[in-house]
């Protein structure tokens, strides 16, 4: 049965003989482990295509929405974090394997006649791989993505003569990064580059087949081997090892997701992906009018040299051991690259933003204005919950079911004296805050009502009692005489904040904020509370 189906397919399409032709290709006797990297690179690309398609299925490619949908992927979807991990680390590991592949071909001298075209197509494939890295970097739309791309486009703008046109092509006319830049990067990443990659890989593999796997000298006399099964086995083992490393990284190493891109955040220090750090460092060595040398001239010359390798070195194919010059050059390049990268890491100050800032789950109370959280504090302080049990009707009505319809006067009186012979300790501002809260509260406030940690609630009460909102804005409420307080923990630490309350002008010269003498408990609660309010 199966045989007849295969026979029919073979007769009509020739697919069986095509596969056999592919698998039983002759390879030289010397073929082996050193030639597995091309297959691994191909597999790496296919993995990226697969995980990329899955990510695209839950991703909204517009600024802002992109960040929200990515956050949805990693926090709400089963295996979403894993998929993003596979795609993110897959990109890095693909760069590594592509570069190793190129280094192997270089050391063995496999680019020599008649394989010059194979090498040149390979060099273009390397550039395409890097283009994926550049365009993909923007797609999470967090601060890292945004500011990294700002720098990239500014470098592109330095190209003599072509600069403004390159910027316009990238949708960044005038140097700003917005919806158009995002669309261009996304279109390049998922629509332009993949078909181009498939085409180039097809040409690359066709050329490898046309000229055969590169033999070593004296190999020609030995009987040939077949590609299948021995070499396919070695390729599969190497691919599996690569894949195992990828899965381990995707599971164990969390992919950063910072705060959503904020073009007004002047404190963010951008840095490129690790494989571009050496360029970033090279750039630092050239200042002023020489900047163009580091940004444009040197990289262009390097790419040109790489592309023309087969024409620069035109000697006969020799044994690897005799290629001292090539090995020395590779070692020199690796050392230079490592030194520049290490220097870049050492000289860049650590990011003020936690790499996981965007992954922290935000509780409803963290988004509630301080007056409402303080009202919850008043409710708890005077044991209102004894009669008004949250979530079920008891001695008093369940206040979570619907907002109170009572007039404010009635509520104020009720809070002062909830029952005959029962009086509360609440002060007038607290009574007013509580009355406003029970009549106006939204769904999120109801969740915070039972869920907010007591320490935070007390912090909000200190915040209200000291009228911080008279000068500061927090969660959308308050004046803007002083700086807004959302996300203050991103650029201030605890010691700074505590010291600042006691003596503001010592910490921010020129500050008009009065000093606050708080008890150590209040100071602790207030500081913790403010530091817990996200951007």
């Amino acid at each position: 049965m199966l045989r007849s189906v295969i026979d029919w397919l073979e007769d009509r399409t020739g697919v069986e003989s095509a596969i056999k032709h592919f698998l039983y290709e002759d390879v030289p006797a010397s073929a082996g482990w050193h030639q597995v990297l091309g297959s691994v690179a191909l597999f790496a690309f296919l993995t990226q295509v697969f995980t990329g398609m899955l990510l695209a299925g839950n991703y909204a490619p517009t600024p802002g929405e992109a960040y929200n949908s990515l956050r949805y992927i990693v926090t709400e979807l089963t295996a979403g974090q894993l998929m993003r991990g596979l795609h993110h680390w897959g990109a890095s590991l693909m760069i590594i394997v592509v570069v190793l592949h190129m280094m192997q071909v270089f050391v063995w001298g496999a680019y020599k006649k008649p394989r010059e075209a194979t090498w040149m197509v390979g060099a273009v494939l390397l550039l395409v791989t890097l283009a994926y890295g550049l365009t993909g970097y923007l797609l999470p739309w967090d601060n890292r993505a945004y500011w990294g791309t700002v720098v990239t486009t500014q470098i592109a703008a330095l190209a003599p003569g072509a600069g403004p046109y390159v910027l316009r092509l990238l949708g960044s006319d005038g140097g700003s990064i917005g919806a158009v830049t995002f669309a261009r990067f996304y279109a390049a990443h998922v629509l332009l580059l993949p078909p181009l990659t498939f085409l180039l890989i097809a040409i690359h593999v066709y050329l490898v087949r046309r000229h055969g796997v590169t033999p070593i000298p004296a190999d020609e006399a030995l009987p040939k081997k077949k590609f299948y099964p021995e070499q396919v086995f070695k390729d599969t083992v190497a691919t599996f090892a690569w894949f195992a490393v990828l899965v381990a990284m995707a599971i164990a190493v969390r992919v950063p997701l910072g705060h959503v891109a904020d073009p007004t955040d002047t404190s963010y220090i951008p840095r490129p992906e690790w494989y571009f750090l050496f360029l970033f460092q090279t750039l630092k060595a050239f200042e002023g009018p020489l900047e163009i040398v580091g940004a444009v001239v040197l990289p262009t010359l390097a790419i040109l040299a790489l592309f023309l390798v087969p024409f620069i070195d035109r000697g006969k194919v020799v044994r690897v051991r005799e290629r001292i010059g090539a090995i020395a050059l590779i070692v020199l390049c690796v050392l230079g690259w490592s030194a520049l990268t290490a220097r870049a890491i050492a000289t860049t100050p650590p990011s003020t933003e936690s790499p996981d800032a965007g992954l922290a789950l935000i509780e409803p109370w963290q988004e509630l204005p301080a007056d409402q959280l303080a009202a919850i504090g008043a409710f708890r302080k005077d044991n209102c919950g004894n009669c008004h049990v949250l979530g079920k009707s008891s001695a008093g009505p369940d206040l979570t079911r619907a907002a109170s319809q009572r007039p404010t006067d009635w509520l104020m009186q009720h809070f002062k004296q909830p029952a005959p012979n029962v009086a509360t300790q609440l002060k007038n501002p607290e009574l007013r805050g509580l009355a406003a809260f029970v009549t106006k509260r939204q769904d999120d406030a109801v969740k915070a009502w039972s869920g907010a940690p007591q320490a935070a609630v007390e912090g909000a009460m200190v915040y209200q009692a000291n009228q911080c909102s008279a000068c500061h804005k927090l969660n959308g409420v308050g004046m803007q005489t002083g700086p807004p307080l959302n996300g203050v923990a991103d650029h201030r630490n605890r010691e700074w904040l505590e010291g600042h309350f006691a003596d503001p002008s010592k910490f921010s010269p020129g500050s008009t904020m009065p000093a606050y003498k708080l008890s150590s408990r209040d100071l602790d609660r207030l500081t913790s509370y403010i530091m817990d309010i996200p951007k």
């Binding site: 839950n58 929405e65 979807l77 599996f240 619907a402």
Partner: protein, 160 residues
């Protein structure tokens, strides 16, 4: 010859085994990623839709209210409607506004005293039962609650 055959079959088995492992390691998470429901598709709570006293007993009214709905990564605050029938002072029924046949919007036909769907002329009684037409089941209902004279409509839909 023997050893060559053994080696060949070992290679083939290893290729199939490792290839299978890679495929499974990609396919299983991919299936989970595409098929498992998102973790916290939080059902939004009951929202007030109308005052009980606005409605006449025995006459269905189309009530418009706003509710917050989670749509993937977006949280929408959108207009929603229901056909609400006040039965007495304690009980109301809120029908979801789509016909159970193919989801068209139906309306209350005052003259005929029934719900009529204009698409394929399904008709439903005031209790939502199918009177005629292709509708396969009675009208779907929202869960409801009455609190201090307010009609609260939940997000859950009950199918008969």
């Amino acid at each position: 010859m023997e050893s060559t055959t053994t080696r060949r079959s070992f290679y083939s088995a290893a290729i199939a085994g490792l290839g299978g492992l890679i495929t499974a390691a990609l396919a299983v998470p991919a299936a989970a990623y595409l098929l498992v429901r998102p973790k916290s598709q939080k059902q939004s709570d009951f929202v007030p839709a109308a005052d009980l006293t606005q409605l006449t007993v025995g006459k269905p009214e189309e009530v418009v209210f706003r509710r917050t709905r989670v749509d993937g990564w977006r949280v929408l605050n959108e207009k929603s409607t229901a056909w609400v029938l006040r039965k007495d002072d304690q009980n109301v029924v809120a029908f979801a506004p789509q016909c159970t046949h193919l989801g068209c919007a139906y309306h209350w036909d005052e003259k005929e005293n029934n719900f009529l769907c204009p698409c394929h002329t399904s008709t439903f009684s005031i209790d939502g039962k199918v009177l005629s037409g292709p509708a396969p089941r009675p009208l779907d209902r929202y869960v409801t609650r009455i609190d201090q004279g307010k009609i609260l409509i939940g997000s859950e839909i009950q199918k008969a």
